[in-house]
Subunit: 253 residues, 2 copies
DNA sequence: ATACTAATTCCGTTATTTGGAATAAACCGA
DNA sequence: TCGGTTTATTCCAAATAACGGAATTAGTAT
């Protein structure tokens, strides 16, 4: 083959750095993880940084994804964002129609979740607490909990610390309580939480991951706490798994 | 220098393809525009596609940005999305406080605009027509018009055709009328439109572009139609320009 | 069917990248 | 503030990954 080496390395570097966002990565660790000699890694990273594909913090000297990645992402979002929503919609619509549950799609934005799509159930109990575009700290809704628990340990802790002051406004959730929920979500493989900000509402959430190990979105189904029995969770989970797999599949090719 | 050539070429290719999203680019045009010999361009693009940085349409054989760009974009959005909002906020808050006007920040999603931020004015006339996260076809609000008129000609026409059927629901705007507004926006350098979906509301919008030529967002200030005099437009424009420049500056470094 | 353009592969040559070693800069504990 | 240590950066001869002219194949329009 040909033309390939550099491209493969660029992509590996970007994925690796993305997986460590936003605290970033030090040069030496990057070189080691990429399995490149320091000079080689250095030239590569410098070139990427000079093209704004990476940004290097002036003080910590850590590498992070750069503004160009963000811009290119917005360009491709015109294409994939609607796909993301469209792919989930049928699964979620079916659930909404058959059970009246409401389904949400979240993406992460800093230390928050943003609701990018909502499929309303017909059932009278709705959760107007999570309107489109609304932001909540990661962890207070099932989508945020799914995202949070799928993050690397250090990043999870950083987020927990960062959102701590805001948790009081969201059902007075305590950091330690949230950390415990994260642990439960990690071992269960899905996030289940009784929304403290919206009493009486409970939701199941699943993270959606693409080629990078970083979760990119989360899909959830919410219903009243009373109806969220173990049996119902077992009903909902396959649907979420399907949707998540379908998205991963579509993104992968 | 060293390690640079491939990286520079990768970045040029990605920017070029982003600028032609979503209709994509043919191989030969890409090779020509990148000023690369066909075999060289071919290997580069094939490598990028195999890494999911590009996607090639099976039928048209055109290259577009791939799913990995979208994913990496979402990772960096955690970082830059809040920056985008935060950077605009002061300018917009000032405007809201001093005049009561409401200010919006939009990004593009397919053929729609999505409102990602809103700074409410104190003035009683608000426009609840554009809630956070809401989607409207490109062109029906000032932000969408700014984005639409900043797109390449062919893409603008494609969007106009795509959204035509939906325009009836948005104040019965006609495609030809919208096309004319686009022309006016292009020659004026900013978008000014009396929102047809929200009668009595008028807004000024400016596209925000980064390193790529593709507009990535749009910032607007809305007020009542009666108050949107030429004098007021001249007052608002510098604020928008400032905000747009500030964002471009922050993204550029 | 035919001619044309676009896309892809081949392979000897060469320019780009490589990496060991040296250097410089930051960091840290006293 | 200062040595000692880790981390980051630069140099340059050697190696090899990428290059591109030419040939080939696929696709498309006439």
């Amino acid at each position: 083959m040909a033309g390939v080496q550099s491209v493969a390395r660029v992509v590996r570097a970007l994925k690796l750095i993305a997986a460590h966002a936003p605290e970033g990565m030090r040069f030496t660790d990057l070189a080691r993880e990429l399995d490149l000699e320091p000079p080689t890694a250095h030239r590569l990273l410098k070139a990427l940084a000079s093209e704004q594909m990476l940004a290097r913090d002036a003080h910590s000297r850590r590498y992070n994804l750069g503004p160009l990645v963000f811009e290119l992402g917005l360009s491709s979002a015109s294409r994939f964002g609607p796909t993301l929503r469209a792919t989930c919609a049928p699964v979620r619509a079916e659930r909404a129609a058959s059970t009246g549950d409401t389904s949400f799609l979240f993406v992460r934005s800093g230390d928050d979740t943003v609701c990018v799509s909502r499929v309303e159930g017909t059932y009278p109990i709705q959760t107007p607490m999570v309107p489109l575009g609304s932001r909540q700290p990661l962890g207070v809704n099932a989508g945020g909990l799914a995202l949070l628990s799928a993050l690397p340990e250090v990043e999870m802790n950083r987020v927990l610390a960062a959102i701590a002051p805001r948790l009081a406004k969201h059902g007075d959730l305590k950091v330690e309580e949230l950390r415990r929920y994260c642990g439960e979500a990690q071992s269960a493989g899905f996030a289940l939480i009784a929304n403290r900000a919206a009493p009486g509402v409970s939701a199941v959430g699943l993270p959606i991951t693409g080629a990078t190990t970083t979760p990119i979105a989360a899909i959830t189904v919410a219903t009243t706490e009373a109806r969220m029995t173990d049996a119902r969770v077992k009903e909902i989970l396959p649907l979420l798994t399907n949707a998540a797999d379908e998205i991963a599949r579509r993104l992968a090719q």
